[in-house]
């Protein structure tokens, strides 16, 4: 019966492999029903890669999951069809679905640790789909094929790894296993839901490369779900931008990045720090939050946050379609006629379904390069850096390494391996590096949460180790830490008022009335209503909580705020709000920031001085422009080359030398230069001698490398 629908596609286009048609998904729980997907239509040709992007909660995951009928408990398809290879999967029986899953459609999930069975060997897990789907295949053969597959996904020593358990592998390796598992039956379609979000930039890059290659060799189609515009720009043919359970815009990837039409897409791009006109300027933000999907809003779903919204937008819902006649700007190259139908347009496109569709009454006019049109607010002039506020000298932190219960102490983890740096009053010191390189540890030592194993921390000229108990207590006021996860950093059982007052109570500052006055002022400063004091942290959105975190960090009027990945859990739109706020407050209050992030773009946007860490070592520091423009350390350069720039044009350029390999374990850091195992320039001396700090590029720009890069690159793309 499902075969009838096969003929939907026109004769000229190859039949789509997957065709989602007006899909509605509801998730019902005890209290409410979320209309997670509200009429999604997507087509995917064989071999095509479709990217799905959008803010958190807009339905990306639900789209991916509904294809295989893996919706969470309470979730159900309430309307529409999912045609895959002629079968309607939305209405398929359990055995039919089981036959498709893992066989013709493979799936990769975000978290490679939790998505693998912890008590089964890698081999068993990879071989499992074969045993399920390939009739007559024996255990032996399945294992052989699984091993082959592991080799294919770049697993070193696959035959040994077959017997390993997931926890014995690094995150990147686990994700390779997950991919091998999804691909072992050579599916026609791979669905990847945020496959790299949990990984480092470098690993992310490697995994995406791998998927790209495999896709090409196997001729697979792919749906890549991500919130990361950079990833999308580089890896897919076509993009669907989702907003609040609907597709807002759908287009060829280059087309979309070059000429976004939906105002939402445009705003998303504008909020990227990479797109900020200049370092130090304010970022564009999208006010507010996506709507909750418990009620179906009338009109355009983006209208409440859209600066261009009109009455029409609020009343009528725009259809997803190609260029509407009245909005056409003559002279644009794509120039489809107002009445153009899909068929008539088809010959003009090389790619199937590559036509640009969007659901907006007031689209971005054609031909406008968004950046050019943006009115740039005047840059907030950073206060001139003053005297040295913080000085770290040969700081070392080692953690005892205790394995499981059966292991004895197996040595130490060198989290910070001798870092010296200075931070001047009023500046923003940005610290970047891959996961595990010791950024957080460094921040915690500075904030006094961790005692250094060796080395000194001097603050305002005083050695912190020499402070008496009471002095230390008083000193605490002057450095505050802002956490990455503000949810975790706030006692869920305290009201916001109490949370904000807590520092004051502990330090015994003022009467209760004073304290309340102070917190009210702080709430004003971070742009939250004063009524917030009566609410609990969980009643706020992620961005708002981060504002609260900032407010709390400022309660004691510190000199230095250590901000550890304050925005990395946020969507770009919200990230922009917080970054702007931090900048504004720095300006108003003369704050100094030690800003920790793995996101090079964010650091570049915010920091005056940049430090690059690798495996507990500070490999390079210097003024932000210099470091980005002319990196001296091969690692810095590799990092910059690895980053997924949210611009397909750049991605296509071939002069990048991304980092390869994995970071060695901090428990056994390589001798000499710790980066040598991954360094393209490494020589014998690197293994024996720790590189000295030099300043080949002028004072202020230091590098710890035996062979610093001589030729400065023209410009960083970040």
């Amino acid at each position: 019966m499902t075969e009838l629908q096969l003929s939907d596609a026109g004769p000229g286009t190859p039949a789509p492999l997957l065709s989602i048609d007006d899909l509605h998904v509801d998730i019902a729980s005890r209290e409410r029903t979320v209309h997670a997907l509200d009429g999604i239509s997507l087509d995917l040709a064989p071999g095509e890669a479709l990217g799905v992007v959008g803010e958190s909660g807009c339905g990306k995951t639900m789209t991916a999951l509904s294809v295989l009928g893996l919706l969470p408990p309470g979730g159900a398809v309430t309307g529409g069809r999912i045609l895959f290879d002629g079968q309607d999967l939305a209405a398929a029986s359990a055995p039919t679905l089981q036959d498709v899953r893992g066989n013709t459609v493979g799936m990769v999930f975000q978290d490679p640790l939790t998505s693998l069975n912890p008590t089964m060997t890698i081999g068993a897990q990879v071989a499992e789909p074969l045993l399920l789907h390939r009739e007559g295949i024996g255990r032996k053969e399945a294992w052989a094929r699984a091993e082959e597959m592991l080799r294919l996904v770049g697993m070193p020593q696959p035959s040994e790894r077959m017997k390993a358990y997931p926890h014995q592998l690094s995150g990147g390796m686990r994700q390779r296993v997950a991919i091998a598992m999804a691909l072992v039956c050579e599916p026609k379609l791979l669905i990847a839901d945020e496959p790299t979000t949990a990984l480092d930039v470098t690993t992310q890059h490697q995994i995406l490369e791998l998927i790209d290659n495999l896709r090409r060799t196997l001729g697979m189609a792919m749906i890549l779900v991500t919130h990361d515009l950079g990833v999308i720009a580089n890896r897919v043919d076509r993009v669907a931008v989702m907003y609040a359970g609907k597709v807002a815009e759908q287009a060829d990837v280059r087309d979309l990045f070059a000429r976004p039409r939906h105002r939402y897409t445009e705003a998303l791009f504008a909020a990227l720090p990479e797109r900020a006109a200049e370092r130090g300027t304010e970022l564009h933000t999208i006010p507010g939050l996506p709507p909750s999907l418990t009620v179906r809003p009338t009109g355009c779903r983006f209208a409440p946050r859209c600066l261009f919204a009109t009455e029409e937008c609020r009343e009528r819902e725009p259809e997803l379609g190609p260029e509407l006649a009245q909005e056409l700007v003559p002279g644009s190259e794509a120039s489809p006629g107002s009445e153009t139908s899909l068929e008539s347009e088809a010959p003009a496109h090389e790619l199937v379904g590559a036509e640009h569709r969007f659901a907006c009454f007031h689209p971005v006019p054609h031909g406008d390069a968004p950046e050019a049109q943006v009115v740039t607010p005047p840059p907030a002039t950073a206060t001139e850096p003053g005297e040295v506020l913080l000085e770290l000298d040969a700081l070392v932190k080692e953690f005892p390494l205790t394995g499981g219960p059966f292991a004895r102490r197996r040595g130490t983890v060198s989290a910070v391996g001798g870092v010296s740096l200075t931070v001047r009053r009023g500046e923003t010191f940005g610290m970047v590096g891959e996961s595990g390189c010791g950024k957080t540890t460094l921040g915690r030592i500075v904030a006094g949460l961790e005692e250094p194993t060796a080395g000194t921390v001097r603050f305002d000229g005083r050695d912190l180790a020499g402070l008496s108990r009471t002095e230390r207590r008083a000193h605490r006021r002057r450095i505050q830490l802002m956490f990455q996860d503000s949810t975790a950093a706030m006692d869920p059982r305290m009201r916001v008022g109490e949370i904000l007052r807590e520092p004051l109570v502990i330090q015994g500052v003022g009467t209760r009335a004073d304290q309340e006055r102070l917190t009210a002022g702080l709430l004003d400063a971070v742009g939250l209503p004063r009524g917030a004091v009566h609410r609990y942290p969980h009643e706020f959105s992620g961005g708002q909580r981060q504002r609260l975190g900032l407010a709390r960090a400022l309660t004691l009027s510190p000199d230095l705020v250590v901000a550890d990945e304050p925005v990395s859990a946020l969507d770009v739109s919200v990230q922009a709000q917080i970054l702007n706020l931090m900048r504004e407050l720095q300006h108003d209050r003369g704050l100094t920031y030690l800003f920790i992030s793995h996101d090079l773009a964010v650091i570049r946007h915010l920091a005056d001085t940049v430090g690059v860490m690798y495996l507990g070592k500070l490999v390079e520091t210097g003024p932000a422009e210099q470091v980005y423009a002319a990196p001296l350390h091969p690692y810095t350069r590799g990092l910059l080359d690895t980053v997924n720039v949210p611009d397909p044009a750049v991605a296509a350029a071939g002069d990048r030398e991304p980092l390869h390999g994995e970071t060695p374990s901090a428990a056994k850091p390589p001798s000499g230069c710790r980066f040598r195992t991954r360094c393209p320039l490494a020589q014998d001396v690197c293994a024996t001698t720790e590189p000295p700090v030099s300043t080949p590029n002028g004072a202020g720009h230091q590098v710890a490398c035996h062979f610093p890069l001589a030729a400065p690159r023209l410009a960083s793309r970040v």
């Binding site: 006010p287 607010p377 956490f483 950093a489 706030m490 609990y536 706020f540 961005g543």
Partner: protein
């Protein structure tokens, strides 16, 4: 006219309403889950009925419960207006069940609460301070746990003259271990929570951490455990009675009624055995039902 979002004005977050309604308050959610759980509801109803029976009952159904009347001993149900017959000392069984119910419930509640209170503080302190404090405190609980509760009770029963207060103390002394270990586990993880670190960074001390952050945040676990503790305490009361350690007559508890009734198993005096036995089972089950419902509500894992 075609400019993108202007962001100069401080963003007054318009997402409040949504954020607030997206996560209904914990208390409300608790109530919802709770009322949705049929077993928990059954537990509440049972408990209310038993409470009414024990405390309101004597007002409506007045019987002699201090003076014995051997001439009325061991009457079978229905005789002389004794609904459930009389005990071996001539007390009216229904009236006795009411009086005994008060004692059982009071001992159970008091012991359960005491054990929870002490165990919680003990566990929180142990878990928060960690290191050798934790090691020392936990070895003590390990040792106490390594002696089976019944063994302890048997020995204690050979030493102690029971009164209500003594029973409460004995039971609490056996029962505090489980909340202590539970809360310690919570505290171990809570102390690494960023909000506790944040507090430390502001210069806050141990007492504040334990009482302001650890204990309140372990409260779900504590409350759930407390209901189980109460249930267990009532069970312990019955075991103590079985071991010959029950509060002195003429007061009685269900456990002592049951163990006294067991003497007459062979006589077929079922009315001496089943009513108190079933009362114990019901009240213990009721607390367990409630605890289970609460656990669902607090999403506390079943693990110890």
């Amino acid at each position: 006219m075609t400019s993108a979002a202007s962001t100069t004005a401080p963003v007054t977050a318009p997402g409040h309403e949504e954020a607030a309604q997206a996560t209904p308050s914990l208390a409300r959610r608790t109530l919802q889950v709770f009322t949705g759980n049929k077993l928990a509801l059954t537990g509440v109803v049972l408990l209310v009925l038993l409470l009414l029976f024990s405390y309101l009952g004597p007002l409506l159904y007045d019987t002699e419960q201090t003076h014995t009347d051997l001439s009325q001993a061991n009457l079978s149900p229905g005789t002389d207006g004794h609904l459930l017959g009389t005990t071996d000392l001539g007390y009216d069984m229904v009236g006795r069940l009411m009086v005994a119910g008060q004692t059982s419930l009071e001992i159970g509640l008091a012991a359960g609460l005491l054990a929870t209170l002490f165990g919680t503080v003990y566990g929180a302190v142990s878990g928060y301070f960690g290191g050798w404090v934790d090691a020392a405190m936990m070895r003590i609980t390990d040792a106490a746990l390594a002696i089976p509760a019944m063994f302890l009770l048997v020995v204690v029963a050979a030493i102690i003259t029971p009164t209500k207060g003594v029973l409460i103390l004995i039971i609490a002394a056996v029962a505090w271990l489980s909340p202590a270990r539970l809360v310690r586990g919570e505290a171990l993880s809570l102390r690494n929570r960023e909000y506790v670190q944040a507090m430390r960074m502001m210069g806050g001390g141990g007492a504040r951490a334990v009482f302001k952050h650890i204990v309140p945040n372990a409260i779900g676990t504590v409350i759930v455990n407390c209901t189980f503790q109460i249930a267990d305490a009532i069970l312990y009361v019955s075991y103590l009675a079985f071991l010959g350690l029950s509060i002195p007559p003429p007061s009685a508890d269900w456990g002592s009624m049951l163990s006294a009734g067991i003497t007459y198993t062979q006589n077929g005096y079922w009315w001496l055995i089943f009513p108190p036995g079933i009362a114990i089972v019901l009240v213990v089950a009721a607390f367990n039902f409630i605890g289970d419902g609460l656990r669902d509500a607090f999403e506390v894992r079943l693990r110890k």
